[in-house]
């Protein structure tokens, strides 16, 4: 990580706070209308998808229904659920859009996600050993983990994780790696598992049982469409999230260097640990504006649709302080993610022999 003096870090903190304060002072009608419009879009797509699905025996209708339902789930998870549960719209004081009460359309319970994501990941971003989102305790993505033979096959693990992403996220709090290491017992996780099965059961019931059954004669079509919609959502959200922190130049940190850190240091870590990708308006909407992952990590509770507006200012702050701002096209960023997953599946000696696989960071 770039080294800065405490005075420089304080200045960085002040510079970023100026941006934040300006947005907070300006929050109002426009933001409320934006999120309400997105919620309406979600409801329309979901209702449309569900209504069309039974007619999915007509191939183009099947494609349209599956796409509508898949996109509705993507919008609900990314632009609504993720952002609402970050407290971005708490100021609206609307119980339907409040971080403490929102429950989203995915297996992971809101409660569990608020603990593992809002708290753990956003407080300890990319600190190896503390941020369990880094590689999801499943993938080796930096030198901080020692190479083991099983890592050779981690590309398969990555594909499985992407396909079943909602179940992976749902089970994240189980901390299975700590259970395997004997640090905690499965029994300690029983309350969590109860919630997991309840919510996961609900999600499976709705998509794989209820809607197919009430349209009985065409149940296989509805089941296939719902599976497809969930798959589209899983693959897309997993990809967006991997592009946010596991690109080639996204940095990782050690516990030691973050001990007792100042707010300025926390800001620096968020700036250098995250990565953006560019794209059209729709790409940003469908990624819940996590295409602006840097802005999101610096200001997780500002309404996400504001990130494009402040991005230029954040970049200016980065330039002023000589901090890299990691961005690129979606294809480029995703390419470096795949490269990272592949590179760290190899033993260090082997990787060192292939210059193309050097990762641009030293920890």
């Amino acid at each position: 990580m770039k080294t800065m003096t405490e005075a420089q870090l304080s200045e960085l903190e002040r510079d970023l706070n100026v941006i934040r304060d300006a947005v907070v002072a300006d929050l109002g009608e426009r933001d409320a209308q934006y999120i309400r419009r997105i919620v309406r879009l979600h409801r329309t797509l979901e209702v449309g998808g569900r209504v069309m699905m039974p007619f999915g025996f007509i191939p183009p209708v099947f494609v349209a229904a599956t796409a509508a339902l898949g996109i509705s789930k993507i919008i609900e998870n990314m632009e609504i659920g993720h952002n609402v549960m970050h407290g971005q719209y708490d100021w609206m004081n609307d119980p339907g859009l409040h971080s403490q009460t929102y429950e989203w359309d995915t297996v992971c319970t809101g409660e569990s996600w608020r603990r593992t994501h809002n708290y753990e990941h956003h407080t300890y971003t990319n600190i190896i050993g503390k941020d369990r989102d880094y590689g999801y305790a499943l993938l080796r993505l930096s030198d901080d983990d020692k190479w083991k033979p099983q890592h050779t096959l981690q590309f398969i693990n990555y594909i499985l994780l992407s396909v079943f992403f909602q179940w992976g996220v749902g089970l994240h709090e189980l901390e299975s790696e700590r259970i395997r290491r004997g640090e905690i017992r499965l029994r300690d996780k029983l309350p969590f598992l109860k919630d997991f099965f309840r919510k996961g059961g609900r999600q499976a019931f709705k998509d794989y049982l209820f809607f197919p059954l009430i349209t009985f004669p065409v149940a296989p079509v509805v089941l296939a469409g719902n599976l497809g919609a969930n798959l589209i959502r899983n693959l897309w959200s997993s990809t967006v999230i991997f592009c946010g922190h596991f690109t080639q130049d996204a940095e990782t940190f050690t516990e030691a260097e973050c001990e007792g850190e100042s707010k300025g240091h926390w800001y620096l870590r968020q700036l250098t640990g995250s990565s953006n990708f560019t794209g059209g308006k729709w790409v940003h909407l469908l990624s819940g504006h996590l295409s602006y992952q840097i802005e999101h990590h610096v200001f997780p509770d500002l309404p996400a649709h504001r990130y494009p507006e402040i991005s230029e200012q954040v970049q200016a702050v980065c330039r002023k302080h000589g901090i890299p701002y990691n961005t690129g096209s979606f294809a480029r960023q995703y390419g470096t993610v795949l490269k990272r997953i592949f590179a760290f599946s190899l033993p260090d000696r082997l990787r060192a022999r292939v210059p193309a696989l050097t990762m641009g960071q030293a920890t």
């Binding site: 304060d21 907070v24 929050l27 109002g28 009608e29 426009r30 933001d31 409320a32 209308q33 309400r36 919620v39 309406r40 409801r43 329309t44 209702v47 970050h86 407290g87 708490d90 100021w91 609206m92 004081n93 609307d94 119980p95 339907g96 409040h98 971080s99 403490q100 429950e103 989203w104 359309d105 608020r114 603990r115 809002n118 708290y119 956003h122 407080t123 609900r202 019931f205 709705k206 209820f210 707010k263 997780p300 509770d301």
Partner: protein
Amino acid sequence: MLARQNQSKALQWLGKQLFNREDPAAFFDPLLERVNPMWVQQYTPARVVQTLQETSDTKTFVLKPARRWQGFEAGQHVNICVDIDGTRRNRTFSLSSSPILWQSQGLITLTIKRLPGGLVTNWLHDHLEVGAVLGLGEAFGDFLIPEVATPVLFIAGGSGITPVLSQLETMAAQDYRAPVSLLYYVRTSEDVIAGEKLEALAARYPALTLSIIPTHDGASPRYLSDGDLGTVPGLNGRQIFLCGPKGLMDLAEELLQSRGVRERDIHCTYFSAPRANLEHQALGGQVQFSHSNIEVGSEGDANLLEIAEAAGLTPQYGCRMGICHQCSCRKTSGTVINRLTGQASGPGEENVQLCISVPQGPVSIDV
């Protein structure tokens, strides 16, 4: 809390399964709202059908709530919610109409005075027009007319007349057979709210003795005095209802007590007063944690999370620096300052982050 339509157990279960919410109908609210705002299920909607200018700074809003609203008794209040610049604001107002109007025509009225610097009252005056829809809670409060006719004295000040209007109208309609007196204090004769209505009531309801007393019409102010109480026959046998500014209520209670009126014969209702000049007031205050029934005092800029923990409570928390919102809780009353922004919250019900909220005066929190 705002009223919701009661759903059957089966619907609730299905709502949980299909939409991850107790109330499946609310899932469709964003769409229903576009078609007809009166179809919203998340709260009881009420449409403004008429507005009446009572005085220069007081208006009466005639509302038609969705039929599922449960009704009220004279003297009760209601929470309303309106979206002002994107933020949902809840405030409590007394109902000024009689329940008979609701039963016969499905209408209720709120009589609202502008508070100096008041965010919601001024917004209502300036923006709430005929056709608009607001959210309505179920009525509450025990500022109620005696069930058995006994002599009554109302002492009202300014906009404190609003619940009394509802009560007097109800008493007149029921032909409440016991002496009823009203001492109504207003700043000047221009500030009399519903003056004509009161005169008309007094004319058709002989049991009512009406005294409207301007306090600032003369050279020197003329407040409630022992002499005023002396004009009320049989004071000590009356049920006494006080509603108005704190100064008037305190003075009335003092004078009544010195005349030997029993505490249990005095009924008070408060309506929120604006807190002017927030930044000049000291921080800290009594904090009431309503779920756990603990009340503690705080001083200086200790935040609600620290105060709760010092009191032995363990509210949910995360980053302790205002990022993760793990500690957001419902504030039911009082004002807090956001440590990050320096901004004061509203006095009403809203969610606050415990770790960055500093009480300013007495605060109630659902912890």
